[in-house]
């Protein structure tokens, strides 16, 4: 990435290819500049656990954040690609619509909560309630996930290379869960399901998208999903999910 100092950006015009330093700018100032940009590469420095860093992006942006972020980083993301070189607090990529969020460290609870689309990659571990109420987002966790992950998950895929904590997929709707490690316990209405060829193909695509293509054997995974005894599911409505 080629970066120019902020001062070099033309006044009144959206900026591109810029380093933004949260030691000298507020989160609101940084987010406002990024909301105005439609494309470009951006480096965010000194996030220091601040909340709502790069929330609400909507553009073909590549954003790299060097350091640990607080709550709701990259929330509501659309189209942008955000990489966090550090850990993320509660609700990273919550309600993400599209684009890609990649966390190089660990994440706190409720990662990807209610996400509608896009891809969330977590290189480390995720704590409790990862993918809670997800609605179309794909999540790939290279480590393990905590308790109540995929609680009431409606659509999308949660792939976990490590283990899952208590009550995985409690009250799950139509999301698919792929787990390589052990599960401590399954939540209400969540059951293990057959891994058919279509699921292996789908999982392979997800792993490829997360940069794991060829390094992980899809036959090591088990699939979990809804027993459909807890909500008013009817097979003729499957197309709606």
């Amino acid at each position: 990435m080629a970066h120019q100092p902020l001062a070099a950006a033309h006044a009144g015009e959206p900026i591109r290819n810029t380093t933004l330093d949260l030691a000298h700018m507020s989160v609101r100032e940084v987010n406002r500049l990024l909301h105005a940009a439609s494309q470009g590469d951006f480096l965010i420095k000194n996030p220091r656990g601040l909340h709502a860093v790069v929330a609400g992006l909507d553009g073909e942006l590549n954003v790299r954040i060097d350091g640990h972020v607080g709550y709701y980083c990259a929330g509501m993301n659309k189209r942008a690609s955000v990489t966090i070189n550090g850990n993320a607090g509660t609700g990273v990529a919550e309600n993400i619509m599209s684009g890609r969020v990649h966390v190089k460290g660990d994440v706190s609870q409720s990662a990807g909560a209610t996400g509608c689309g896009g891809l969330l990659i977590i290189d480390g571990n995720a704590s409790a309630r990862c993918g809670i109420s997800m609605r179309g987002l794909d999540i790939v966790v290279k480590g393990s996930v905590g308790h109540m992950s995929a609680f009431m998950a409606q659509a999308g895929n949660l792939v976990v290379l490590g283990d899952a904590g208590d009550a995985l997929g409690d009250s799950i709707y139509e999301a698919r869960l792929y787990l390589r490690g052990k599960v401590k316990s399954l939540g209400s209405d969540c059951v293990m399901k057959n891994m058919r060829e279509e699921h292996k193909t789908s999982l392979r695509k997800l792993l490829d998208a997360a940069g794991l293509g060829g390094t992980v054997d899809v036959s090591e995974f088990r699939r979990y999903g809804s027993a459909r005894s807890l909500y008013n599911f009817h097979i003729s409505n499957l197309g709606s999910y």
């Binding site: 220091r48 656990g49 601040l50 640990h68 607080g70 660990d106 706190s108 704590s127 409790a128 308790h147």
Partner: protein, 298 residues
């Protein structure tokens, strides 16, 4: 809400910096608990001398006279130093007896702590101003725990501010709420515990005092607490030698731990830890639910 910070130094060279580092952590979590704040510092000890910290509920008290009465009542030499609306009383007599006498005889004050090492200070209002006013920045010692409070279970008063301490050199701060504290308070009172508030967190502190008096280690006492306490909690606990963290079985309240060769630090959120020296290379993790973490200088 509520914010907790804790700093346990492993490198003694940092001890003169304890207060400055802790105060910076508190300032980061002001917005999590804007109504009151308090802190415990484990600092200087004089062999055979117990320190008792007390705070006046309202106005001022004639502490030199109270010290004289305490001295007569306990047949021990007593000195007192006033810091703002707090008094730091030093006695060569029994600390628990002195605490009991003060609770019985000086109802205008709240006894905050007693022990060889611990000192607790509290105030109502903006936590940044509270720690400034009570000079946390100048504190030296081995470990410190601080709390910024958003009151839910009892009123916004000095008495309701954390940390809570009922036993020698032990204190507890709490983010959350307990649902069985009334019943447990009755049980603990039958075992001789003295309470000064109607606050749920004081019950958790007294529970640890009771268990350690019965011979449990800090770790064992916290493991018992998992069975005895019902509700939401992240606790950070200090003892003369130790520092501990416990979250409830569903990890309802946030918590981050970080450790380097020089220190162990707790923050309700990472931003509280962001100013610590060497944090960029610290091991950082979220404590697991229902898991007791203990560090000790012994």
């Amino acid at each position: 809400m509520c914010g907790i910070v804790g700093l346990f130094l492993k490198n003694v060279a940092l001890e003169p910096e304890l207060g400055r580092l802790t105060a910076a952590m508190v300032r980061e979590l002001r917005d999590r608990g804007p109504d009151s704040a308090g802190f415990a510092v484990y600092g200087e000890e004089t062999s055979g001398t117990t320190k008792i910290c007390a705070v006046v509920r309202e106005g001022r008290l004639a502490w030199p006279q109270i010290a004289k009465r305490l001295s007569n009542a306990t047949q021990a030499s007593v000195t007192v130093k006033e810091i703002e609306n707090h008094a730091v009383i030093k006695t060569e007599g029994d600390g628990d007896a002195a605490r009991g006498w003060l609770i019985d005889n000086v109802p205008e004050a709240i006894v905050l702590s007693q022990g060889l090492s611990i000192e607790i200070f509290k105030g109502v209002g903006d936590p940044g101003i509270v720690v400034e006013r009570l000079n946390l920045v100048g504190a030296k010692g081995s470990h410190a725990i601080a709390h910024t409070r958003m009151a839910t279970e009892s009123a916004v008063t000095i008495a309701g501010s954390h940390p809570f301490s009922t036993g020698e050199d032990t204190c507890l701060v709490h983010n959350g709420s307990l649902s069985n504290h009334n019943r447990l308070r009755d049980l603990l009172q039958r075992h001789g515990e003295r309470f000064q508030t109607a606050n749920d967190s004081e019950v958790a502190a007294a529970y640890l005092t009771w268990r350690t008096r019965e011979g449990d280690s800090l770790k064992a006492a916290l493991q018992q607490a998992l069975q005895a306490l019902d509700g939401f909690y992240t606790f950070v606990v200090g003892t003369r030698e130790g520092f501990a963290v416990l979250r409830d079985p569903i990890a309802c309240k946030p918590a981050v731990l970080a450790e380097t060769d020089d220190w162990v630090a707790f923050g309700t959120e990472f931003r509280a830890l962001a100013t610590l020296p060497g944090v960029a290379n610290a091991r950082i993790w979220e404590p697991e639910p229902a898991t007791v973490y203990v560090w000790s200088r012994a």
